[in-house]
Structures are given as C-alpha cells and as structure tokens.
Amino acid sequence: MRVNFTVNGRQQEADDVWEGESLLYVLRERMGLPGSKNACEQGECGSCTVRLDGVPVCSCLVAAGQVEGREVVTVEGLADFAAHRSEAHPGSGCASGACGTTLDQARRWEAGPSGEQPRDTGELSPIQQAFIDAGAVQCGFCTPGLLVAADELLERNPEPSDADIREALSGNLCRCTGYEKILDAVRLAAARAEETV
C-alpha cells in the first residue's frame, strides 16, 4: 500500500508498505530516519516516541496505515519543531537556541571538537542542548524518545516539579544513567526557558 503523511513538516510518501509494518519501521527503513529507536518494539520502552498530531506515541505500536494524512515529528525534526513553536508562541520557551547567558555557560562547558564537525549549538533545541550539558546521554539509545517526551512535557508544563518530570517520563526506559542526569537536563531546560521570559 501507499501511505502519505507529513514528517517533520515535509510531505512524504511511502510505497510498497506491507500492511503489518509499523510507523517505526517506515520511518527507520523506508524514510531514512533511524533516529527513532527500536529498543523493544512492544510499546514498553519509549525509545521510539514521536509526536503524532502533537501527541507523544510509541511509533512501534502505530500501524503505518494509521498515519495517512497525519503529521509526525521525530527527533530529527525536534530542533525545527521547537524553533517554530517559539516563533508562534514567543516567550513560551527557549526554543530559538539563543538563550543568553545560559548558552554561554553551555559553551564554556563544551569540549573541543572531537571526532565530528563542530556545529552551531543554535541548531539544537533547548532540551537537546540540556541533555548534552547535563550529562544525560550515555549510550544514547533512549535519548531520542526521551527528548521527544521531555519536549512535550515542557511545552504543556514549562515549570514541572520533579514528580511531574518523573510522571511524564515514566514511559521511557533508560538503562545507563539511573535517570538523575536526565532529571537534571529537564530542570536545566526549564530553568533556561524561565530566564529568557
């Protein structure tokens, strides 16, 4: 079958999709978007979390045919998504990446270029930058799903309590970090957003 849907703001078309394929499979194997991860493929780990018409879902549990005509945002589109949100709702969050002193602070922590092209930190969404700065990334396999979920949390609740953060991220398993640095990252992103309002 053919499936038409919007991914990260761009109209996409997938051909020869077998009816049993998940949205996750189509994203990863047919659209060249492997950022959404395949840690369990049974809806338990959250590593494949994407926004479907704005709602965070496990893309492994969504049949590809179900997304016909709908909008999907993946981790690959998270920075653009956050930037557009900031333009549409200024002051609702530090989505532009130009987060004043806090980003200077982040740059001071930054390691020298090492194994990859240096990149303007403004290309990342605030939550992505906060995950790097807080040490919330180890193996990184849970990271894409956590970023999508945490970004959605901060969108609806810019000043979450620790209990709020834990509740919102309870569907995302991480095996490396013990979650402490992930909590730090979400707190950091929220604090930076508050500073810029």
């Binding site: 090492s114 990859e116 990184g140 013990g178």
Partner: protein, 794 residues
C-alpha cells in the same frame, strides 16, 4: 611493541583546556541528541537482505530432522542455512571454551538456541519463512540445578569434554571449581562467640541494554566480509568469527557501530557469525536486528546463584572466620563462567579482614539459559550474601551495622584470602562513614506538599494504592569489593595509535583505538588524555575498528585504566618524538631545549617555567608523528586450583551505599526513597561521567533488588518472561535520588592514579536495598529480587 607499563608520573601539565579532571562533554553527544548517531541497528545498504534466526522451542532435545524445503521455496527468500551448511570444520565458538555451536548440531541444549538462519528481502518474509522450517525434536530430561546436574545418572550437557577445566572438576556438568583455603576456619570457629549462617538465592538478571543485538555484514570483492556491529571487544569477536567462516582475520574487517549499552551482554557473539554466513552465501549485504523477545535469548545473563555462608565473630565484634560455598548456574554453554567462578571465590570475603577462610565456588552446566558476563561479574552475588551476613552478625552482637563493618574493614595492606596484599588505598570504613553521615531524607515526604498526599511519592505510586496507611520506613547499608581489569594471569593489554600533525596551521591529534564505546564515555576520556599529554585542543577520535591492535574488552571496569593507559603511553611517545624533532631544528637557538624540562601546552613547546620555545606548527611543519604502541598493566597470576592462592587481581574498587526505603506492608510494595553512594575513584578523569557511571550502576543494583528476574520454569527450563512487559527494569518512577560522594585516593600503580569505577556501585546497591527492606519489615529475606509476596507472605 609489548612495552610493559611502569607507573608514569604526571610531568605533563594539564593547563590545556579540556584535559583530564574536567567534565568535558561527549564528542558523540550532538549526534546522539539529533538522532544521527549510527547504531548497529541503523545500518542500511542498498540491496540488503534481512537475516532471521530460528531458535529452539525446547530446552533439551535431540534434533532428529530439519526440513527447510518449504522455507526455501518461499518467494523473497534467498538462503536458509543449518549446521550442515557451515563452511569449515570449525563449527563452535566461545570466549574461553569453544563449546557453543554456531547452529545447533544434533542437540539443542537450551531454550532459544539458534538452529537455522533465513535471509529474505523483508524481515517479515524472513520470519514467516523461518516458521515454515520443520524441526523434529526428541525431548530429553532437563538439568536445571546442582542436584540434577551432579546426580549419578545425570545426562552430560557436554559429552567428551576436553577443555582445560575438564581435568580438575569433580563432575563433567561442573564447568569450573575454585576453592580458596587460608588459615584454619574450623579452629577459628572455636574462638567465635557468635556464629551466623545463611543460605541465599540470587535471581537471574538480564543486562537489558536498550540497543538490540544487530549489525550488517557486507560481502567484499576479495572474498572477505566487512562487518558493522555493536560489541564490547572487536578483536575477541574477530578471533571467534574468522575460523568459522574459513577466512584469514584480515579478510574479516570489523568496524564498531553505535552500541546501545552492553553491561557484559555483548562479550559473547550473537548475530556476528550468522550475518557473515548469510552474506557470504547470498553475495548480498545482510542485516540482522533482534527484537526484544529475541534479545532475551540472544545474549547470556547474570549467573543466578545459591550461596551458603557461615561467619563467626568474637563478643567484641571482630570477625573470626568465614566459610562459604557459591553455586553459580552457568546454563548450557561456558561463556565467561570460569572467570566468574574465579571472581566469586576470590571476592567472596568482601572488603573485610578475615584470616581464616574456607571457600568454594563452582559453575554448573545445565539446560538453563547460558550465563556469563554482567556488570559486577561474580562479585555481585557474593556481596548480596556477605552483606546480609554482616547485618545478621551485628544484630547478634547488638552492634550498629555500620560500626561493625568499620571494625572489620579492609584497608591498605590487608592480606586477602588469596594471599594478595591490597597495596593501594582501600577506604572502606571512610566510605561507610560518608554515606552514614549524610542527612536522612524527611519522613513521610508525601505529606510535605500539604494535606493532600502526593501519591507519586508513595509505594504503589500512581496506582494510588495507599495514602500512607501500612507504610513503614527502613534504612540499610552495604559495601562491596570488586576487582578491576582481567585477572588470573590473563595478558590484559591494550593498543593505541596516536598521530599528531599540522592541519591548517594548527596542531591536530588523532587517537585510534579498537575500544568499544558502549556509552561509558571512553571516547570523551581519550580526548581528554590526549589534550593533557600533548597540549593540543583539537583531538579527533578515529572510529574503532580492527585496523589497529586490540584494545581488550569494554568490561571489568578496565577501559579507562587499560586503553586510557595505552592512549597516555602512546601520547608520551609522540611527545618525546615531537620534542626530539624540536631539539633537532631549534636546539641550537635556545639552551632550554637541552636543559629544561619541556612540556606541550596550548599548541606550543614550553619550559616548565612557562617560557615558550616554539609553536608545534613550526616544529612539525609537514611532518606527522604517528605511533602505535601496546600497553600493559602489571601482570597477575592464576589462582592455585587447590588452595586459591595467587596475586590474581590488578586493582580493587570499593563503593558503599545507604538505602532508605518505604514499604507498604499490606501490599508488599517497596519505594526506594534515596540510594546514596560513596565511591573511591582514584582520580575522576571526567567527574560528570563518573557520577553517571555510579548512578547507572546503582540503579541496576536497585533493579535486581526489587524487580528484575528472568523466570525459568524449573520443569521445562523454558524462559517465561522474555519481554519488557514481564521483565521489569527500573523506570524513572522506580529510581530514587542518588546522591554521589566521590573520593579520589590515588592508586600509584594506575595511570593518573585512577581506579576502575563502572562495576563497584552495582555490588553494594542491591544488599543496601535488601537491608533497608529487612529493617523496615523485620523479615529475613534471603533471596533477591524481593517480590510483593515475599513481604506479605501470601
């Protein structure tokens, strides 16, 4: 080559930004947060096929026949392989004992053993074709525990053993046995005022790394194969893969893909040989990705264990003796069982001074799932048991459990039961003091917000099962002893290639090792070491592959020590070479070139007084300095097979925990409120990463305390819960605040004085939580994980 590392003092300055001791950020961080980082399951190749593995549905059976005809006839299927298709006489592999068939031959020895392979143009086609393979099993009785393994009429899991442990084990269904005898435990027991004993059970834990076993094999024009995989040790894989394929090692070119966690579960091969076989057979690239169900069968687990301990103490609280017997279930294949036995026995005493001991550890061959390496590696099970014993003894003596431990704590200079002297700091008592001195979290935190209870802070959480009724608090302590590095005489070396050159007028350093970055942050640390040693800001980490010498395994808390040591060693050689070039070019212009101690800093050659002698750009110009060297830590010895004596370990690592729990005694639900850790790390090369390791290790220990266990049916030896629905790992709601207190007491034998850190926090976390639950409930609780029914008695 083959340079043995003697301790090198730090002459080189650390003033270049981004050197050791700073919390520099991960070089792979940006790629990991944008979704661009290429994990092994993200590999893609034009025209690639998908491989699928058909696995045994029974735990022990003769394979009477396999019929692949219907599968082969399925449209879209390119190949179906069984044992008969293996290309050479080498049909087994294994880390230490080559007892694991690439595909089952005549017999299946555990549930989920690979029997056949399919390659097809769509993963679902491959799965469906595999389901059409007909296998006729004749089931055999299952061996599931020590009694069934060593019964006089027991079926041998492996007949005709010829491995190097076969000669000294008391039964062919015992993989390895390691006794340790020192002093006279019976005589010492006569001096004891109190003696406590206990039998403890440790459940089977899964590494549950999130990135599934996966990779891509691409057949090459020269008849070889290029393999992209997630592993912990490229060269160990290579040594096992090449002979099965009938290829020389240089025709199996391995590149490390992104690794989504490991924790020991990637020490053994999984899909590596299978993907290569299918690629070489079909002439097409083949990708294999396990799903979570298959992943539970695709790697070894932590050995479940039964442990019997006896300790004695005098009335004034000094330990007199210890006797223990540790039985580890190794499952159907040896994997790392022999080394796990060595660890379990040699670390069974824990971080305590006990002169008279009688110790025995064995691993069994059974038809249960194969068990091997997992973070903590044999030391975890023992720690759970000896720490329960310490609490029992303290209670018998009416002493404070922390003070009792401190009274008997090991320190620098302590003689271990193996006869090895602990010759670097061992701040066991101090670590305990630190976790104990920490203020306790407030009681009844759920009430702090106001009259309305925040159920999220209570046992049962959002299930809203209590508002505080039936909830009691408990506090527990534990401390552990772990070794660092490969032990028992293993040649545990690493290799690093370091290159310095001038690019665009600036000095640039490239570090090339085969170290598997599995998330721990080794790549971050390598760049920091290079900056510190070479005074160059721009450091590139070359992808890990087999084009450079072995780095050894990302295991045993060893990589920062050993491959970090190799990077340091090669950097020192590069620095000497650069200074030699400088002296040749500029030595006549300034006497300091000959007389002063010279450093590299911020791209310049400077004297230790800070005078700039030359830019590296002028020293090197078009010349590149490129050096590859091996580096070794000091050697270890095998343990004597009868007495267990020998300097078996490289270094020891210590962590202590205090757990605070709240237990709903009516429903048997546990909420861990806080799990504080203090650990000596020698030198924190990257403090942020050190905290991350300690918190992550602590959480894995918490998991096996209250939720994580692979349930194997004792009648059928089949795995009952191979999914994240039924095998639970801690979520962010299950995980408490984990305050970390880091000590840095240098080990003079190690690079920068560092101590391997990854595993120690996994040891003491579990017994601390158990102790806290015992403290809250008054129950004995001799097994882990604790499930609700153990607390309610229902």
């Amino acid at each position: 080559m083959g340079v043995t590392g003697s301790p090198t003092n730090i002459h080189q300055g650390t003033r270049t930004r981004g050197g050791i001791g700073e919390s520099t950020l991960r070089p792979d961080g940006i790629l990991k947060v944008t979704g661009e980082f290429a994990y092994s399951s993200d590999m893609w190749h034009e025209d690639m096929l998908w491989g699928h593995t058909l696995r045994s549905t029974v735990a022990h059976a003769e394979i009477v026949s396999i019929d692949t005809s219907e599968a082969l006839a399925t449209p879209g299927v390119h190949a179906v392989l069984t044992y008969d298709d293996l290309p050479t006489s080498v049909k087994n592999y294994g880390l230490e004992i080559q007892d694991t068939p690439v595909l089952a031959h005549g017999k299946a020895r555990h549930h989920g053993e690979p029997v056949a392979l399919v390659a097809a143009d769509h993963p679902e086609t491959a799965r469906r074709a595999a389901a059409k393979i007909r296998i006729d099993y004749r089931e055999l009785p299952v061996i599931t525990d020590e009694a069934s393994a060593t019964a006089p009429d027991a079926i041998l899991v492996h007949e005709g053993r010829s491995d190097h442990h076969a000669g000294h084990v008391p039964h062919p269904n015992i993989v390895h046995r390691q006794p340790i005898v020192r002093g006279d435990a019976d005589a010492a027991a006569a001096r004891a005022d109190v003696i406590v004993s206990g039998e403890y059970v440790f459940g089977m834990q899964d590494q549950a790394f999130l990135g599934p076993e996966s990779g891509l094999a691409v057949p090459a024009e020269d008849g070889g194969v290029d393999l992209y995989v997630a592993t912990q040790w490229l060269h160990s894989d290579l040594r096992q893969i090449a002979p099965v394929l009938g290829l020389p090692e240089d025709k199996v070119r391995m590149t490390l893909s992104g690794v989504g966690g490991a924790f020991g579960g990637r020490e053994d091969l999984s899909m590596q040989i299978h993907a290569c076989l299918l690629a070489l057979r079909t002439g097409k690239p083949v990708k294999i990705v396990y799903n979570r169900f298959e992943s539970f069968f695709g790697h070894v687990h932590r050995h479940p264990a039964k442990l019997w301990y006896e300790h004695g103490a005098t009335r004034d609280g000094k330990l007199t003796h210890m006797k223990c017997r540790i039985v580890l279930d190794g499952g159907a294949y040896a994997s790392a069982s022999p080394a796990v036995v060595g660890n379990a026995s040699s670390l069974s005493v824990g971080p305590y001074v006990i002169d008279d001991v009688d110790i025995e550890a064995i691993a069994l061959y059974t038809n249960n799932p194969p068990c091997g390496a997992m973070r903590g590696f044999g030391a975890v099970q023992a720690c759970f048991a000896y720490e329960a014993q310490m609490d029992k003894l303290a209670a018998e003596l009416g002493m404070d459990p922390v003070e009792f431990r401190q009274l008997n704590a090991m320190e620098q200079g302590t003689l271990l039961p193996t006869g090895q002297v602990v010759d670097s700091p061992a701040p066991v008592a101090e670590l305990l003091r630190r976790v104990k001195a920490r203020p306790l979290p407030p009681e009844r935190q759920w009430e702090v917000a106001g009259e309305q209870a925040d159920v999220r802070a209570l046992p049962g959480g959002l299930s809203n099962t209590t508002h505080g009724e039936g909830v009691v608090r408990g506090i527990g302590y534990a401390v552990g002893l772990k070794n660092v590095g490969f032990s028992e005489g293993f040649d545990d070396y690493s290799t690093a290639r370091v290159r310095m050159e001038i690019v665009g007028g600036e000095p640039v350093v490239t570090v090339h090792t085969a170290m598997a970055e599995v998330g721990q942050g080794g790549v971050t640390v390598h760049a920091q070491i290079a900056r510190t040693e070479l005074g160059v800001a721009q450091v590139t980490i070359h992808p890990a592959d087999t084009q450079v010498g072995s780095a050894g395994s990302t295991s045993a808390s060893r990589q920062t020590y050993v491959t970090g040591g190799a990077v340091k060693h090669s950097c020192e050689a590069v620095r000497e070479k650069v200074l030699e070039i400088g002296r040749r070019k500029f030595g006549t212009y300034h006497p300091a070139w000959a007389t002063a101690e010279l450093l590299l800093e911020d791209g310049k050659v400077v004297t230790d007084g800070g005078e700039v002698l030359a830019d590296l750009a002028d020293v090197l110009e078009d010349e590149a300095v490129d050096i590859e060297l091996e580096w070794r830590h000091r050697p270890t010895e095998a343990f004597d097979l009868r007495t267990g004596q020998g300097n078996g370990h490289v270094q020891y690592s210590f962590a202590a925990h205090r757990a605070v729990v709240e237990v709903d005694t009516e429903l048997g639900l546990v909420k861990v409120i806080e799990l504080a850790c203090a650990q000596d790390v020698g030198k924190a090369l990257n403090p942020l990463s050190v905290e991350g390791q300690i918190q992550g290790g602590t959480t894995q220990g918490l998991g096996v305390a209250v939720m994580e266990e692979i349930i194997v049916d004792p009648k059928t030896a089949k795995v009952r819960n191979p999914s994240f629905t039924d095998y639970l790992i801690p979520t962010i709601l299950d995980t408490p605040t984990i305050p970390v207190d880091v000590l840095e007491l240098a080990d003079d034998h190690a690079p920068y004085g560092l101590r391997g850190i990854g595993e120690a926090p996994t040891l003491s976390s579990t017994p601390a939580v158990l102790a806290a639950i015992r403290n809250a409930t008054g129950l004995e609780l001799n097994r882990t994980p604790v499930r609700p029914e153990h607390l309610t008695g229902t």
